[in-house]
Symmetry: C2
């Protein structure tokens, strides 16, 4: 029995170390060095290349490294074998930490003080009191509410937008197109945590950036499809936006020649804002493999018609 | 009437801009370019050089930029004129933000991802779930409690130490020498927020660092006197500590030739973790000056025997 590992967003060595704590005899092959495809009967994957899984003649189990399996289900060649997904409890607090970190790094001038340290210069800069800094959150689901809760403890002013009206404690809430137009001019930082739908695709575009005040910062921790990349570069380069923190991209991994990498106003993380932690979740993978080997029922089996 | 401004930790231009919103006719001179000392009748200061205020023959009012006036009262030459201190409401949340930022920057690998971005490399690294990361806080007063509250919303494990037993919600509390010895080996990050007393001076020393687990991070946002600088450098250089975030120093401004500036494992900020914000506090300075000019009673007047 051999497990294929394929993900550009997860560390294969860490996963191997954690899974083999539970299954010492497991053989794991990391794409693209997968040897004889006939050996592989299980796959542990996040966004594998289309057709890869279909090329494995003896595949009998797929485990998704993500809680959302929509990237897998979009592949028409996905083999008709049992598909299991991770159910992670840590995603929400992980995201709250990422959002807090990005708000704090821009507000508290991390890069400016880094440059001063490199020059051995003692130069206090003026950061505004957090009570004068307004953070707008797009998307008021579980992730948005948790992020707002953390930021509120530090006295940031919170605005939030969702398609239909929602109420979150400590957050002044807006909804619909009129609500978005009313909220944007007040946001010193704008954080996107929306689901990706037909309505929200490309929402981070030139028109939205122009509605933000000069010097605003944009944080995208949702999906690459929310952002019109050329519009962000234009808004940064004409000096309207101060910066952007991006965790997600239209193409992942972000190609090495992409202009985002070298842009002085962009801070990149490789889709790690909220992750499935190997130390917590390897046991789920091991359980799925053990159940599969012994013919026992699989937990967190995806219903493909339902989509989760 | 002429105001002297003297502080190595505050931005004179920002203070001037904010104060002159309230007092457009005010003349402010910034140390060391102070012109004729006989012109100066008021001083707005943070840690002025000893003897500076005594050298001003017509000084009749001192306003402290800090809430704590102990650095002023330690100067035996301090003139016997009214001394007013800032009373800032934003210090506590400012500190909670600084502490959260330092915990997040080390836990969420800000510098590692910065280096990867500089190399245009997409390489997800493994960050542990926050619920597996233990933060120890030295000092469980208002600042420690506020910092713990913010970190708890992100699921960090909180330990706290104070000289006498204290109870803070969500924090496993320790006290006394035995309590410190029990707490230190569990701390992935240790944050110092203690008052500086004869008992706590030099508490961040070789013995304490050795009691921390390998790879721990130290954050000092209290006073420079808590830290034995040579011991920190030794613990970093032998690889026992992963890094340190320092906001306070034995000598401020930190001299340009100090080894901390260029140390790859040290992150420096110039005593700005919790500041008196000009945009919020300039009105207090203007009120003090106006009251002084018109002979009205002064708010926040320091009782020198009491010390505050």
């Amino acid at each position: 029995m051999t497990l294929l590992f394929c993900s550009s967003s997860d560390n294969a060595d860490v996963w191997r170390a954690e899974i083999t704590k539970h299954l010492p005899d497991l053989e794991m092959r990391v794409w693209p060095d997968i040897g004889d495809v006939a050996d592989i009967d299980m796959a542990l994957v996040w966004k594998p290349p289309a057709g890869l899984l279909a090329s494995l003649p003896n595949l009998r189990l797929i485990v998704s490294l993500g809680a959302g399996v929509e990237p897998l289900l979009e592949d028409p060649t996905l083999p008709e074998v049992p598909l299991v997904r991770m159910v992670s409890e840590g995603l929400t607090v992980d995201m709250a930490g990422y959002v807090a970190l990005q708000v704090l790094r821009w507000h508290r001038l991390v890069d400016e003080y880094g440059a001063l340290q490199a020059a051995s210069r003692w130069q206090p800069l003026d950061h505004r009191p957090a009570s004068d800094v307004t953070v707008g959150v797009l998307g008021l689901g579980e992730l948005g509410a948790a992020s707002a809760r953390t930021l509120r403890t530090m006295d940031y002013r919170l605005l939030g937008w969702s398609r239909s009206p929602k109420s979150v404690e400590g957050v002044e809430s807006f909804s619909g197109a009129d609500g978005l137009a009313a909220m944007l001019p007040r946001c010193d930082l704008l954080v996107c945590l929306l689901p990706l739908t037909a309505e929200t695709r490309g929402i981070l575009n030139a028109e939205l950036f122009a509605a933000l005040p000069a010097g605003a910062v944009v944080v995208n921790a949702a999906r690459g499809g929310h952002l019109v990349e050329a519009d962000l570069l234009a808004a940064l380069d004409r000096g309207h936006l101060r910066g952007a923190s991006l965790d997600v991209f239209g193409t992942e991994p972000l190609p090495a020649d992409h202009p985002f990498w070298r842009h002085p106003k962009i801070r990149i993380t490789p889709h790690v804002a909220a992750i499935t932690h190997p130390s917590r979740s390897a046991v789920q993978v091991a359980d799925a493999i053990t159940a599969f080997r012994s013919g026992r029922p699989l937990a967190n089996l995806v219903d493909r018609r339902r989509g989760y």
